[in-house]
Amino acid sequence: MEYKKTRQGYADALIELGHENEKILVMDADVAKATLTEQFQAVFPERFFNCGVQEQNMLSAAAGLALEGFIPFASTFGVFATCRAGDQMRSSIAYPKLNVKIGVTHCGISTGGDGASHQSNEDIAMARTLPNMTVIVPGDYEEARLATHAATKMMGPVYLRFGRDTYPVVPAIHSKFTIGKAKVLRPGSDITLITTGIMVSEGLQAAEILEEQGISTRVIHMPTVKPLDVGPIVSAAKETKGIVTAEEHSILGGLGEAVAGVVAENHPCPVYRVGVMDVFGESGQSAELLDKYGLRAKNIVEKALSIVRS
């Protein structure tokens, strides 16, 4: 299996976009080497603004640049954009619905060695409760690249979420990226798995395991967590016995709860959430943390079996 960085998809797209549109600006808050926006800086130094370690000012200043007609990509780690600069994201960007793109990296437990202080497991929840905010969690390098292009084409604030590590390349999700559209990756009639972000590869592996046991498994990949593509969720609730969601994020407030809300209101069925429990992470290697915090295919399989066998 090939592995690539999702943040590299972001960085590559920014350079492509920079060539296409001179209104594209990139801002960073002293983590350009980590978000990889230094690559944009190397090509377009006059359109790159390092704000230093000041995420709050970066987001409000990005709002100011959007008011002047630019398309700023404000880049930092997820934990800093949402928790540190949550007010600026809300009041400066989301409320006036300004055309700011917030590109964040180092999200989720796979951030690894930096530990809980830097592992953003709450940011989807925070971003998706803001009116006007679009929230996208790409599944691999190519989807990250496509999503960054798509975010540029829409008017309004977008939260783009990427990880630190390299993640499996999943060719099944490389079709055209449309914001707000889920991708049904395989049909199935017994159980549905709904994934976002890098959990798509674990979801597909889980489906293989379940199929081997004779369980017909539908897999829906949902890179846009907001606005949610309700149709495929309701169909899954109606046509299969239940749904397992999987996200590299807290089980609170993320994709799982969003899906559960849709299901509860439309066609109740069991919904089990795979994600980080209501705990902070810790330092470790990406892979061992994904194992320890239960973000693997086997964890998805376990939940799916408990629905199918109940």
């Binding site: 600006l25 603004f49 704000c51 230093g52 000041q54 709050q56 000012n57 409000s60 200043a61 990005a62 709002a63 100011g64 640049l65 008011l67 002047e68 007609g69 630019f70 700023p72 007010d87 600026q88 009041s91 400066s92 409320y95 006036p96 619905k97």
Partner: protein, 275 residues
Amino acid sequence: MLDPKKHQFLEDKAKAIRKEIVTMVYRANSGHVGGSLGATDLIVALYYNLMEHEPENPEWEGRDRFILSKGHCTPVIYAVLADCGYFPKQDLLGFRRPGSHLQGHPYQPKTPGIDASTGTLGIGISTGVGMALGAKLKKQKHYYYIVCGDGEIQEGQVWEAAAFANKYALDNIIGFVDRNYLQTDGHSEKVMPMDPLDTKWESFGWKVFEIDGHDFEQIITTVEAAKKENRPVMIITNTIKGKGVSFMENEAEWHGKPPGKEDFERAMRELDKVP
């Protein structure tokens, strides 16, 4: 010297705006009267003398921008914008009411003439430095007038913006700290000491002036001087919170308290007597 006729014109405008402020807050039974009255002379000088703007064309690219970073003082900016003709004076009746475009704090997408949304403190000046950078990238020549509260500058974000403006040499920013020494919970130097302001801003790379914020002559000549600077400018504007209404002057309790009927009538009588 300011032409006496022009001076009287500004005095008359300030008086009318103050009456409108008191009326709006009384009618809405909600809003910030003290800081609005205190900042009236400054904002009147800007809109009726200093700023290049076209009320009939609020999106004009070449206009000077105004950002009320102390966003709670909407009564003064709404009264001024309505008087200039950005929207009908009738709209002021809707201040802080459902369905109105006149929100409690400035909201740029809805209100003609509002250049940036503010409300949570610190974001106004910070949005302003981004806008000013944008204008530099477009090689535009207009100015960004940004009014901060003296309580507001306790926010760390204000100093992030200050550093940013220095880094990018944003000499198209003319800022004001409305220094009335009062904030919601009392005397500003007791709530959180920030003096000396001049050396603080200077050490962040800004040129600093200090003026009497109720003296039109000083406001105008200082802004003209500020335009000659090649770095961002902060003008410490000493004002009296509640200026013009004796019982509101220098009283922290009038920060966010609407006047009752008796206080409203008394305030209007006092303002009527202003020459």
